[in-house]
């Protein structure tokens, strides 16, 4: 019996203690007509060896392509120690730290994560993480609506240059809460969201403006001007950021005169594998004044009966298990393991290491763009500076070119025509520190052949 330890003697002794004749007797309160049948659709059980072989064959089937996709998930080197430690049984098989005295390991790790994220973003406070960046952006929008008490409209400005998958998730999650997401077009020459594009909305009531840095096109926004404009209009600023980029770029806490109010981002680039899209880890930071509107777990440092420092869940009065229908969100977990990995990753990389990762990613993308745009008919679509992604215009629709590249073992980027019909001949490419010069050469060679 897989994972069930009871011998037949155990079962007899246990039934005797209960005063039941059989295990079936224990289900005597369940109406007979509701009992399940044979479950014929389930296969016979297999051994660990057999399932491992089956899954290993399937995993091999998907491996081996050279990938230049980013679009919200980034392949970075992950130090061996990160998951060796994060999957230690003491982290892996613990649960929510309700018994704080018996969970100091997890609790201190979260406190360190909160500190790391606050320092990286330049903000006052952080929570213990949320599911991912996209659902986290939805939480940030709802938080801004609660925090901006002067705004009554339920409206938020959402630039089109924000990752379309994030916009979809925000729409799905906020749909039934009287939230209106008003989109802001991007400048088609620059690939950014200029303040001029917002001018139409001056004087209108919006709770917040979302600013992505870098935006979905990899382009760098004029965050200072956008932040100051939003604040002048009485809006809060929700910063959507890439944590690797923050090693090089102005942290949201220092944007404009007053800094962003809420920061959200995807921690996946910090030591979390691509893993088909999850589990990832949304990080969420804010100014101190908004902390009581923050959703999710928050850990605080306090003292024990003897005055020694220790860590505990705090501000629980915001949460569903206390507030029920009046909670800030229904969220009741964080992404514990992924958050642990991100914490270990940032500790291993340190300030210089993270900066080097960011610098190599930027430089490799510059090289990739230079090589590819040297091919006849390929050009950079937007003039703005970028971080580690860029949009290339091809002489043919991306939907024709990308499958041909895939046939030759290269996942060449993201087809922007999927979300932006006007960009059907554009592909979003990415090169992190893991895409070395040989990889870039190979892509350039194969792309030239495919386009020839």
């Amino acid at each position: 019996m897989p994972f069930i330890p009871h011998t037949s003697d155990d079962v007899q002794a246990m039934l005797a203690a209960i005063g039941a004749d059989s295990i079936e007797d224990l289900f005597d309160e369940i109406p007979a007509h509701l009992k399940a049948g044979a479950l014929a659709g389930l296969p016979e059980g297999l051994s660990e060896m057999e399932v491992t072989a089956l899954m290993a064959a399937r995993a091999r089937q998907d491996a081996g392509a050279l990938c230049f996709l980013g679009a919200g998930a980034y392949e970075h080197h992950i130090p061996a120690a990160v998951w060796e430690i994060a999957t230690r049984g003491e982290y892996y098989t613990a649960y929510t730290p309700y018994q704080a005295e018996a969970s100091q390991g997890t609790l201190q790790t979260i406190y360190e994560f909160q500190t790391l994220m606050a320092r990286l973003t330049g903000m006052d406070a952080s929570n213990a993480s949320v599911y991912d960046g996209a659902s986290g952006l939805a939480e940030a929008v709802l938080m801004a609506l609660r925090a901006n008490r002067k705004s009554k409209s339920g409206r938020v400005l959402m630039p089109e240059a924000v990752n379309p998958r994030y916009r979809q998730a925000v729409a799905a999650i906020c749909e039934n809460q009287n939230v209106e997401l008003v989109s802001v077009p991007f400048n088609t020459a620059e690939g950014t969201t200029p303040v001029a594009a917002l001018a139409d909305h001056a004087g209108e009531d919006f709770a917040a403006l979302v600013i992505a840095q870098p935006n979905f096109f990899g382009a760098l926004e004029d965050v200072d001007a956008l932040t100051d404009w939003a604040h002048a209009q009485g809006m809060l600023v929700i910063a959507l950021v890439n944590p690797t980029a923050l090693a090089l770029l102005t942290p949201p806490g220092e944007w404009g005169e007053k800094g962003a109010d809420i920061v959200i981002g995807e921690a996946q680039p910090l030591g979390i594998p691509l893993s088909s899209g999850g589990p990832y880890c949304g990080f969420m930071c804010c100014k101190q004044q908004h902390i009581r509107q923050m959703p999710g777990r928050i850990i605080g440092r306090t003292v024990d009966l003897e005055g020694r420092p220790g860590f505990t869940l705090t501000l629980q009065a915001r949460e569903q298990h206390i507030r029920r229908s009046k909670a800030t969100s229904n969220i009741c977990t964080n992404q514990g393991l992924a958050m642990t990995a991100a914490t270990i990753y940032l500790s291993l990389l340190g300030p210089e290491g993270l900066e080097a990762v960011a610098a190599h990613s930027h430089a490799n993308t510059q090289d990739l763009v230079a090589r590819l745009s040297a091919i006849d008919g390929v050009s950079l679509a937007f003039a703005s500076p970028t971080f580690h992604e860029a949009v290339l215009r091809l002489p043919k629709p991306a939907s024709e070119v990308l499958p041909k590249l895939a046939e030759r073992g290269i996942i060449g980027g993201y087809d922007l025509g999927l979300d932006f019909p006007a960009l059907a001949d554009c592909v979003l490419v990415c090169a992190t520190e893991t895409r070395i010069a040989d990889d870039i050469d190979l892509y350039a060679t194969v792309l030239a052949e495919v386009l020839a």
């Binding site: 491992t52 089937q61 799905a172 024990d304 298990h321």
Partner: protein
Amino acid sequence: MSTQTDNQLIFELSRPGRRAAAQAPRALPEERLSAIPQALRRKQRPALPEVSELQVVRHYTNLSTRNFAIDKQFYPLGSCTMKYNPRGANRAAMLPGFLGRHPLAPESHSQGYLACLFELQEFLKEVTGMQGVSLTPMAGAQGEFAGVAMIRAYHEARNDDARTEILIPEAAHGTNPATAVMCGYKVREVPVNKEGDVDLEALKAACGPQTAGLMMTNPSTCGVFERQIDGIAKAVHEAGGLLYYDGANLNAILGKVRPGDMGFDVIHMNLHKTFATPHGGGGPGAGPVGVSERLKPFLPTPIVGREEDGRYRWLDQHDLPQSIGHLSAFMGNAGVLLRAYFYARVLGREGMIRVGEYSTLAANYLLKRLEAIGCTPAYPARRASHEFILTFAKESKTLGVSAMDIAKRLLDYNQHAPTTYFPLLVPECFLIEPTETETKEALDEFVAAMESILAEARDNPELLKGAPYSQPVRRLDDVKAARELDLVWSNV
């Protein structure tokens, strides 16, 4: 003299200029960054720790040991199903081909992964008796959200927009009312009677044209099977509402009773409970949803479909135009789903049926043993499901010892405490869930610990009030934590 085994913070170990040099690429000359305008550049490096690789490994290894965990202790946390998390599942999900797969990789490079997900969808349908499954919700609470959002989408698609209320038994998890509100509904609580069943007459009276649906668990959070489920389903359905099954307690009935057969229209499953994926100190989980035929068009996307030629592909908004949409950037917690897939394949049909049987056996045995040493069950006349409730109201009144004191003292006996003070309607309670993976000896040790603690409560109640004594810290000052917020470390 402090050593690294104290709970120093990683920041306190930092020394300027120290690096884990193997872990970063070489520094690049500044001109390689010249394309980034200076105005957008960070002026000061973030104050991340500057430590060696060994310091990091030692720090987090030592920190991990300051946790209770299933791998170390019995962990009978009610409603959380802290069963063994197979190591084989972890290894399988961490295979390089799975870890390295980009979420937007073309289907041609994803057939192995999609095959696992497709089969998992089919297994979950079979074991729950539902007609359609979407794996995308990233946690139980997000599964609940998806479920109630589908109920809403269903009513709206029928232009049935007078339905404004979700009914919820008062014993329900806090996520249920919080979710209903996130979906734009008002919550009406339904009372539970002395035997732990829903007050059916009160439920019938609450049902009406305003009823969008009912959210409930079965077995309920009272640790008993809701015997009137047929009557409940009939009352809600006759009023035009839909039935939502909170799968938190699915472990109790896995293989024995299927939510679909009980009349539920939509359910979520917590794979980190019933399918043995790790809790990871609070996540990540996975909360797939299953639906009856009429809710299939509304499932959250993407879903894995299979073509006639056997190829797998993603079904998206194009295939399901009425879908409630995407709930994450990509397609949920893939790594968790792969672990659940491994578990389902190892268990197979027979193993799946045994889960409900042996988790129920363990709970009823533990209940009888604890009753025999003087513990008070909240529902003495009832069979336990996979979990049960004890109340220490008597001890609280006569000895001044609370359920929390007993819980803290259990830690000194190297036993993780059960869930305390939930459900809210039973005073001074423990919700205890032993799971099917614990030996009889482990259950007996817990009973022995409880017997000893009850004796201490009578002889020396002060001892319990000061507990725990054996942990890295004594009882923590939660009031100070909330009043003098210290959420991030400041060196100043």
